[in-house]
């Protein structure tokens, strides 16, 4: 206390405000502030500034991240050409099985379907990593789940059983889609690999139930339209494996 520096450096004063001094320097600053009320008032005000900045802007941390900020939305730009290539050159199942070439003329009528594929892949990457809350309603309440989703989508929604393909239903959730509510069912195999089935109602144009494939980052998506329901099965699986499951889904839905 007795040996005080003549001047407190401005840097030290700020480092004190920000709590970046060790005990010895802190004591030195505190001793100075006792003798220099003007600096003490500044320190108080600067600390108050930090507190107020936190109070004012910390709530932003809890705001939901807008969809377009999600990496999936960014990658879409890069993958667009690839997806068209996959669509035009892509293998398509017409009827249930039987490959044929997909006509590029169909592309325009496919816009809502493509939007659905995007959202399905996005919903897949958002929810599959969840440990505690992967689904909103679990498989234990499957009947309530499908009843609820059917009511909200205005359609008869069923969760196909994929046990034969090695996947168990975890449950599902209701999500906002492009044209109203959509449903997402989640499945998991013995290794913990998760798949999601995204179901959207009010799909424009009658589909021919042919499978199409798109890839969004690591996520592969088989999608098709049946009656006025659009389906997208997403998973980080090799294409043939995902196709197997897609067939199981289709069969499960049409039993």
């Amino acid at each position: 206390m007795s040996k005080q520096s003549k001047q407190l450096s401005e840097e030290k004063l700020h480092a004190y405000v920000d709590g970046r001094l060790d005990a010895a320097h802190r004591a030195e600053v505190e001793a100075w502030l006792k003798q220099n009320p003007a600096d003490a008032a500044r320190v108080d005000d600067y600390r108050q500034q930090n507190v107020m900045l936190q109070a004012l802007f910390n709530p932003v941390l809890n705001e939901p991240i807008p969809l377009q900020m999600h990496p999936q939305a960014h990658q879409r730009n890069y993958l667009q050409p690839m997806r068209y290539a996959a669509m035009v050159g892509g293998m398509v199942l017409s009827g249930i099985l039987g490959w044929s070439l997909h006509s590029s003329v169909e592309q325009n009528s496919q816009q809502p379907v493509l939007a659905m594929v995007n959202r399905a892949a996005l919903a897949h990457v958002v929810y599959t990593p969840e440990v505690l809350h992967p689904v909103e309603v679990t498989n234990e309440q499957e009947e309530q789940l499908t009843k609820w989703l059917s009511k909200r989508l205005g359609n008869n929604i069923r969760a196909p059983h994929l046990t034969a393909a090695g996947y168990e239903l975890l449950g599902g959730r209701l999500l906002p889609g492009n044209q109203g509510p959509v449903a997402q069912f989640m499945y998991q195999d013995a290794r913990g690999m998760r798949l999601t089935l995204y179901i959207s109602s009010k799909m424009a144009g009658k589909g021919d139930a042919s499978f199409r494939y798109a890839k969004e980052g690591k996520v592969g998506v088989f999608y098709w339209v049946d009656e006025d329901l659009g389906y997208a099965l997403s998973g980080e699986l090799a294409k043939p494996d995902l196709l197997n499951v897609a067939n199981a889904v289709y069969q499960g839905l049409n039993q």
Binding site: Q49, N50, M52, L56, V60, L61, M69, P129
Partner: protein
């Protein structure tokens, strides 16, 4: 890539908080974040694995912010046309309204604003701030000192008339 996705997504809330404080409105802020993320994505190959991703993203946001100012997407005061020399008046009021703080920040030259926010709001170390803004440590400290001083004067200036009327 998936890890990188997750790491970048993890930064978004902080980038948004900083952008909101920096620009003062949520629309410009999200615009700034969006452009920052797009730049980050296109430059991801330049990021050195193991280096501090937060500092890297914030420095991209700094460059994007400067760009937005140049393109007049964000209107702000610069140190060059800084004429806001309001005499300092010591104030002990604890209940200064947060609204006044927003107004005061918006009147602060952006060079000061960045330093004050990165340190006071983002709680970044002085060294990281120097890295993020690409300026020497000495400049960080002098901007911090002037920035806080100005913010204090602005707040005092804003609340003074109200106090006088009460008396």
């Amino acid at each position: 890539m998936d890890n990188m996705n997750a790491n970048i997504v993890e930064q978004i809330p902080r980038l948004r908080r900083y952008a909101r404080a920096l620009t003062g409105d949520s629309h410009s802020a999200d615009d700034l974040v969006q452009d920052t993320l797009e730049r980050a994505w296109s430059k991801l190959y330049m990021w050195r694995r193991g280096s501090d991703l937060r500092a890297w993203m914030f420095s991209i946001m700094h460059n994007t912010f400067i760009n937005h100012i140049r393109k007049n997407k964000i209107v702000t005061v610069s140190m060059d046309d800084d004429v806001l020399e309001i005499p300092t008046r010591a104030t002990q009021e604890d209940d200064l309204h947060l609204r006044d703080l927003t107004a005061a920040i918006s009147k602060l030259a952006y060079e000061y604003r960045e330093v004050v926010l990165l340190i006071g709001l983002e709680q970044m170390s002085y060294e990281d701030v120097a890295k993020v803004l690409g300026i020497p440590m000495g400049t960080v400290m002098s901007r911090l000192s002037r920035g806080r001083g100005k913010l204090r004067s602005l707040m005092a200036g804003e609340s003074a008339p109200v106090l006088r009327r009460v008396k």
